[in-house]
Amino acid sequence: MPTDVREPTDAELEALLAEAAGAQPVPADGAAKVLAAARAGARPPGVARRASTGAPWLRWAAAIVVVVALAAAAVNLVPSSARRSADDSDTSAASGDSNASGVGEKAQPGVASTTVPAGGAPPSEEATGLAGGDAPSEVAPPPAQVPGARPRVVKTGSLEVEVRRGRFDVTVNRLTTLAAGAGGFVADSRSSEVGRSPSGTFTLRVPSARFEQVLTEVRRLGTVKVSSSSGEDVTAQFTDLEARITSLTATRDQLRTLQTEARTIPDILAVQDRLNGVQVELEQLQGQRKLLEDKASFGTLTVLVREPLPAGVDEPRDPPRSGFAKAWHDAVDGFTGGIQRLISGSGSFLVVLLCLVAILLAARAAWRVAGRRFI
């Protein structure tokens, strides 16, 4: 573009645009037509379109959010006892035909919704608090969800214990003794030996009542490197299962009575069919209860026992360097170390920054959508 181009002045542009606009004849009845349309109640096409079809994805998204929120609120607000009594009334009042299918459909959502994590704290938090062996590991059973029911808590824990050299076998024996002495057993045992350093993972099942005691004893076997424990309150889940089993048992008994009273072959076959369905459902629930009872009765403690690696084995050293190679490796180490320190040091800052960027991008997109009709 040449540099000597002269920009038109405001007056020149006004004159030119006036001439260009003035060349366009104006419809004589334009204003009257518009006014008549307005008085007749005509709607602008954009308004009508938006009112009928505007932003369908937004409406769908809002509807989905509302439905999910309502469903979550309903599941959380209805107490498990109310659900249980509803199930009871369903199974006892209805005929055998509806029992066989109705209970089966409700079983899984009810169990899933009544599972409550212990104390609301994830296991990782406890692991952080207990690492290093400063504080004793505790699994405090949370308050039971169902009044009058015996609290049932599934306790789990894991420990990594380092023992002195040559003490591996003794420690394993001690673990077995501890488990047996508490009334439990060693459910799984795996050991290996890397070089001259043996290690092994042992899964102990100990009665829940003595879980904390065993945990404390195991911590004394050596130096605790990593420790975590958690408890899950399954009282409500257990109570739900029992209630369903009770009602299904009653239904099964009723069906058996009906079976004895049936006189025709079709009646006998129909009752037999329902009876089989109820029996299968009952056995499934009893299996679930047995499994849950076992998990609640016996806590699971996973212990990793290892001896320290001999000197020179755990940290293989590079051959000594000198000159350019040393300088190069020092530079690489310094660079990677610096990057690591930068990332670790700026962790929270980066998180905040990423959040801000995400918010800004979302706001920008929203602004564009909102202002799309404007220039």
């Binding site: 030119l16 260009a20 204003a31 518009v34 404007f374």
Partner: protein, 172 residues
Amino acid sequence: MDELERWLQEDYARAYRTACLMMRNPADAEDAVQEAFLRAWRFRASLPDGPAARPWLYRVLVNACHSRLRAEIPRRDRTAPATGVDRRPADGPGPAEAVEADHRASAVRGALDDLPDHLRAVVVLRYWSGLSEAEIATAIRRRPGTVKSRLHEARRRLAAHPALDAALAEEA
């Protein structure tokens, strides 16, 4: 007669020609003005009082023009050059002057057509509709600084446009 009707009666011609310059098609311009007025009529309860009403109404008009440009017009030919020569009053300039004026008007329209929508709008609003930079900012919902920079950019492009350059020389 309320303020909106009065604006329609007094400013219809200017609004219609504003839409013509922005949309380059008289039929589309007529539809856009009608749509804009119906919109304003529907929401006239929120019409500001006093001088603030004018940029508000032009905002509605600009929006109507742009929504039509985006939604419908690109699918068909939107250029329908105006022919004002035959409609000039008898006591106006002579045929030679009329032809020259029409030639300049075509050149100006051609130069405006080559501007992008967002620049053409501010030029038309500023130099034809007579809105101030602040009023344009209200009309297009942008900051006054944005309006100023867009006007500067539009003037620069118009100055470099050969058709407008010839029209300016012709007018001088």
